[in-house]
């Protein structure tokens, strides 16, 4: 059976020791966690950082002259710097912290939309977007009587770039596309797509929720205008994320929420807003989790982005070959460039039925439409089974998934 050559160069046993949750048992079996595209597990280092923050220097930021406030402020701003380096932003002020990708896109849809989107304008998104990168634009279009244009997707899950180029008009004001599809794994050619948009003087927002977990991003060489991400999908805590925004745009955008932190001067006659990034961070920010995110980034750097990418691709290749050899499996999304996730169907078995049985073997996979209903409609299906791999997963775990799939076939077919 084991005809597939496996490169065992990555020391997965060592990294697994950093993730305490991997020792959990589910339904009497050791957990196999293949739902990494939904959220990743946290290394002990991140858990320790959170613990340490609350035990030693919890304090509000940017306000107090007292010692602890200074320590917390430094750590929080250090975290911003860490993110800005990871994205290669030209200044850390271009990094805005939010709760995650969804909040980032909503913030931009509101603030950018307020200034730049008017009646009759057009916004381009794609068929393979997550609902978080569809609905905020729909609402903006309703508010402003603007028009949403949608890039079609080819049968293999690759965006139709020719159609994309044809969507531009003098009314196009923004392109918002995902870096990597959470439902198919397709890696979109964002550099090329950004260049196309910029040739029409149109700014581009990248939904990087699934991008950043798999590798560093260089917003300067990509030349993108916004890049949104979620900390919890890149081994950081939940409730923290953010986005990169081009300074010249951020300066023109009005605040999203208002209150403390984001103001410079308040009188009942007139309020002046604080500078970017604070203008967009109303209220006490999520200090602990921002600092935890910085630890996650440090951790990923220590493991090594190249090693992670290489190993994840090996897992992807191994799983793809196993599923193909198995037969009776339809893989949805066969783009040449994919991140380490596979959407598939077991022919003749409802994904939910399969998921229920697979769960009983202690294997966490995802079933359903993956918050990408328009994409499911495009492929004429209601959902898929999705296995998404992280660098702490192993080839043996994929074998366990295959065994569970064989059991599912026995039970249902």
């Amino acid at each position: 059976m084991n005809t597939i050559a496996v490169n065992k160069s990555f020391d997965v046993a060592t990294v697994r020791k950093d993730f305490p949750i991997l020792n959990v048992e589910v339904h009497g079996n050791p957990l196999v966690y293949f739902d990494n595209a939904a959220t990743t597990q946290k290394p002990q280092q991140v858990i320790d950082t959170l613990n340490d923050y609350y035990r030693r220097y919890n304090s509000n930021v940017h306000r107090g002259v007292h010692y602890l406030s200074q320590v917390a402020t430094d750590a929080y701003e250090e975290a911003r710097l860490k993110v800005s380096k990871l994205l290669n932003a030209s200044s850390s002020a271009e990094i805005i912290f939010t709760r995650g990708t969804t909040e980032s896109i909503n913030l931009i849809a509101f603030s950018f939309g307020e200034v730049f989107i008017h009646e009759g304008d057009e916004i381009i998104i794609s068929t393979i977007e997550h609902h978080s990168n569809i609905v905020p634009w729909q609402l903006l279009c309703q508010r402003k009587k603007a028009v949403l244009k949608v890039i079609p997707v080819l049968d293999n899950g690759v965006l139709d770039l020719e159609a994309y180029r044809g969507l531009f008009s003098e009314h196009t004001k923004l392109v918002a596309v995902g870096h990597i599809s959470n439902a198919l794994g397709t890696v979109n050619p964002i550099a090329e797509m950004i260049a196309t948009a910029h040739a029409h003087q149109v700014p581009v927002l990248i939904d990087g929720a699934q991008g950043l977990p798999h590798g560093k991003v260089d917003v300067q060489s990509l030349d993108c205008d916004f890049y949104c991400f979620s900390g919890h999908k890149m081994y950081g805590p939940t409730g923290i994320g953010g986005f990169y925004g081009r300074m010249s745009l951020l300066e023109q955008m009005p605040p999203y929420q208002s209150g403390g932190e984001m103001i410079q001067d308040v009188s009942f006659a007139c309020t002046t807003f604080n500078e970017v990034p604070y203008k967009f961070e109303a209220g006490t920010p999520n200090i602990a989790d921002a600092i935890g995110l910085a630890t996650a980034i440090e951790y990923l750097e220590k493991v090594g982005w190249d090693a992670i990418a290489k190993y994840e691709q090996e897992l992807l290749r191994y799983a793809t070959e196993k599923l193909t050899l198995e037969g009776g499996i339809t893989i949805i999304g066969t783009a040449p460039d994919k991140a380490s996730l596979i959407s598939f169907l077991i022919d003749g078995v409802h994904p939910l039925d399969a998921g229920t049985i697979i769960d009983h073997f202690g294997i966490a996979i995802r079933t359903g439409n993956h918050c990408a209903q328009p994409l499911m409609d495009r492929f004429g299906i209601t959902g898929t089974i999705r296995a998404s791999f992280a660098f702490y997963n192993t080839f043996e775990e994929i074998d366990r998934l295959m065994a569970a799939i064989r059991k599912v076939k026995q039970m249902f077919l």
Binding site: H350, L352, D353, T356, H360, N369, K407, M411, F412
Partner: protein, 143 residues
Amino acid sequence: MTIAEKEEQIINEFRFFDDWMDKYNYIIDLGKSLPMIDEKLKTDSNLIKGCQSRVWLNADFDGNVITFTGDSDAVITKGIANLLVRALSGHTPDEILNAELSFVDKIGLKEHLSPTRSNGLVSMIKQMKLYALAYKTKASLKS
């Protein structure tokens, strides 16, 4: 048989399974073997939406008891739906409204009726009770 007696009967049928897989095989058999609903009744208005598995539910009232039929595109969901229909179908609106349906918990399938499961079964039970309430109201208006 009362609803409670039927629930007891179902609990007894499941008593023999000590292995989760045997239990699921039985539910899968229930889901596969029984024709549950007339294809003509699988209409959009009988469809319970917004779920990972689609569930259809039809109700007929003869002035005394309600007859339910249902279906699902997922086999496990259909098997469990089958048990729910078996328990509640053929009873008066009052009996249905008062039914506790604790058998689901007792046969170890409670997780399938959690609101976050999104298999449509929670909505199906709600819908069955709504039918009972509607028919009860209708009947009391007539008399």
